[in-house]
């Protein structure tokens, strides 16, 4: 959904910077005495997919939850479309690693649940939900329950639920890590289509280097203890070569190698 042009956006255009949907500024997060994030700043360009990549314990999920408004930073702030984040809001939708579906509700009600919480009338929200169930390829499963679906199908439900509320920003917390390898590849291809067709900003947490390079416009590499952004990589050449050519593109392979070289010393 196109945002109306505001004066602020015009100014940014003059400065020739990419417009940012989300910016995190000087985020520090401390749990008791452990510093999870220290003074982390990162911008997320509008309409693009930025992935947060790093070894386990590098605070990437913490950062995502701070952006979602589910966690409060110890200091620093997050802005979404120029507004400071104080809690969860309708401008962001979350896709969970373990799907987080209501086990007692049908696929239809699960997908419509975000709208149900926003007091959208039943017939209207079910109409919207049916559209997104079709979009993610689950037509015919509206009446099924989550326990009757495979892991991959459950995550499609989670994705449809996040799309149904039509937020500007989609926050995805290792969304494909709990599904099998083949399903994951299909998901990654579908995600590229989604980025092109839905004008949304994606923030994608993953621990898979290949996945991050494959789906991202921008890869932010986080290093742990305390975590900070060590590098931002923007793949340039293979983005528009088609889903099946990316994995053998020289730049793709180079970037994967380069990231592995910088991360390997952090892996026990």
């Amino acid at each position: 959904m196109a945002m109306p042009q505001t004066d602020e956006n015009v100014v940014q255009a003059f400065e020739a910077k990419p417009e940012n949907a989300v910016s995190a500024r000087n985020i520090t997060k401390t749990y008791d005495k452990v510093e999870a994030l220290r003074d982390l700043s990162l911008d997320f360009p509008k309409g693009q997919l930025t992935s947060l990549l790093g070894p386990s314990g590098c605070g990437k999920t913490t950062l995502l939850k701070i952006i979602a408004g589910l966690l409060e930073p110890t200091s620093g702030e997050v802005e979404v479309n120029g507004h400071k984040v104080t809690g969860p809001g309708p401008d962001r939708a979350f896709v969970f690693q373990d799907f987080a579906l209501l086990p007692w509700a049908s696929v239809l009600r699960n997908v419509a649940f975000g709208l149900e919480l926003r007091r959208v009338a039943k017939s209207e929200r079910e109409g919207i939900a049916e559209k997104y169930i079709r979009d993610v390829g689950l037509s015919g499963f509206e009446k099924n329950f989550p326990h009757e679906l495979s892991g991959g199908m459950r995550q499609r439900v989670g994705l449809a639920r996040a799309l149904a509320v039509d937020s500007d920003v989609l926050l995805m917390d290792e969304p494909f890590s709990a599904v099998d390898e083949q399903t994951r590849r299909k998901f990654q291809e579908d995600l590229l289509g989604l980025i092109q067709h839905e004008n949304k900003t994606f923030i994608f947490v993953t621990h898979s280097i290949e996945e991050a390079v494959y789906v991202s416009d921008q890869v932010a590499i986080l290093l742990p203890r305390p975590s900070r952004v060590s590098e931002i990589i923007r793949p340039s050449s293979f983005r528009n070569k088609g889903v099946s050519n990316i994995r053998r593109d020289p730049e793709y392979l180079d970037i994967v190698d380069r990231i592995w070289a910088s991360l390997r010393s952090y892996v026990e």
Binding site: L70, P88, R92, A100
Partner: protein, 250 residues
């Protein structure tokens, strides 16, 4: 169970125990154990009498009011305890004490506080049932998948929405389990109340029959009571099984 290739229906073993009872009764082993056949005959004779129906009505009333109070108070309190750390710290010791306390010893205190009537009996019933209902609702809420709560919050659930649309349902298998055990304890509570506080309902019948050595009548009423408690408990177990499909996947 299968015996000699024939599948036996559930609870067939009761027939065997019934036979044993009959034999012991006929052997004249004890005056207190009349043959089962005699008890069953008495049972059908007693069931239609005004005295029995009156006792049934009074007992059922006290039982249902007591259980209703235990459920209506117990479930929300348990859910709140599971959600709120402070409330949990404040109430949990008391819940645990009352769960294991010999509540029968408290009945005289209740009589002083609430009089000798129906009210005290209902409160006794509630006191027998409520603690396990609270504990189970609490346990149900505490094991809710963290990301389900994050999900509700991130999609903008108000606290009330989260309570009715997520917490209640996610804890439902445990809540039903608690209600089932609570109801079994409530049967105990209502009879103890009727025996100790005021001699009404089934309590009065037990008192009457045992004092007059009408053992056939005594056992007949006891069987009716057991059967009722068992039926209610099975009904709830059936409900529990219907929601158990998601108990493992929250």
């Amino acid at each position: 169970m299968t015996v000699f290739g024939v599948r036996l229906p559930g609870m067939s073993s009761l027939i065997l125990w019934g036979l044993l009872w009959e034999l012991v009764g006929r052997s004249g082993f004890s005056f207190f154990v009349p043959p089962l056949s005699e008890v069953v005959t008495t049972l059908f004779a007693v069931i239609g009498t005004p005295a029995f129906l009156n006792a049934l009505g009074q007992t059922a009333y006290a039982f249902f009011m007591g259980v209703l109070a235990a459920i209506v108070i117990g479930i929300p309190v348990g859910i709140m305890m599971g959600k709120n750390r402070l409330l949990d710290e404040l109430l949990l010791p008391w819940v645990n004490i009352f769960l294991s306390a010999p509540l029968t010893a408290l009945v005289p205190v209740l009589m002083v506080l609430f009089g000798f009537g129906m009210r005290a009996i209902i409160i006794t019933t509630t006191l027998f049932a409520i603690w396990i209902i609270i504990l189970n609702a609490r346990a149900g809420v505490m094991q809710i998948n963290r990301s389900l709560i994050d999900m509700a919050r991130s999609f903008g659930a108000t606290p009330l929405d989260a309570f009715f649309k997520v917490y209640c349902w996610a804890a439902l298998p445990e809540i039903l389990g608690g209600v089932r055990i609570g109801i079994i304890r409530a049967v105990k509570g209502v009879i103890i109340g009727q025996l100790l506080i005021s001699i009404v309902g089934f309590g009065a019948l037990f008192e009457l029959y045992s004092n007059n050595f009408m053992m056939g009548h005594f056992w007949a009423v006891l069987i009716v009571l057991f059967a009722m408690a068992f039926t209610i408990s099975e009904l709830l177990a059936h409900l529990e099984r219907r929601v158990s499909y998601y108990a493992a996947k929250r």
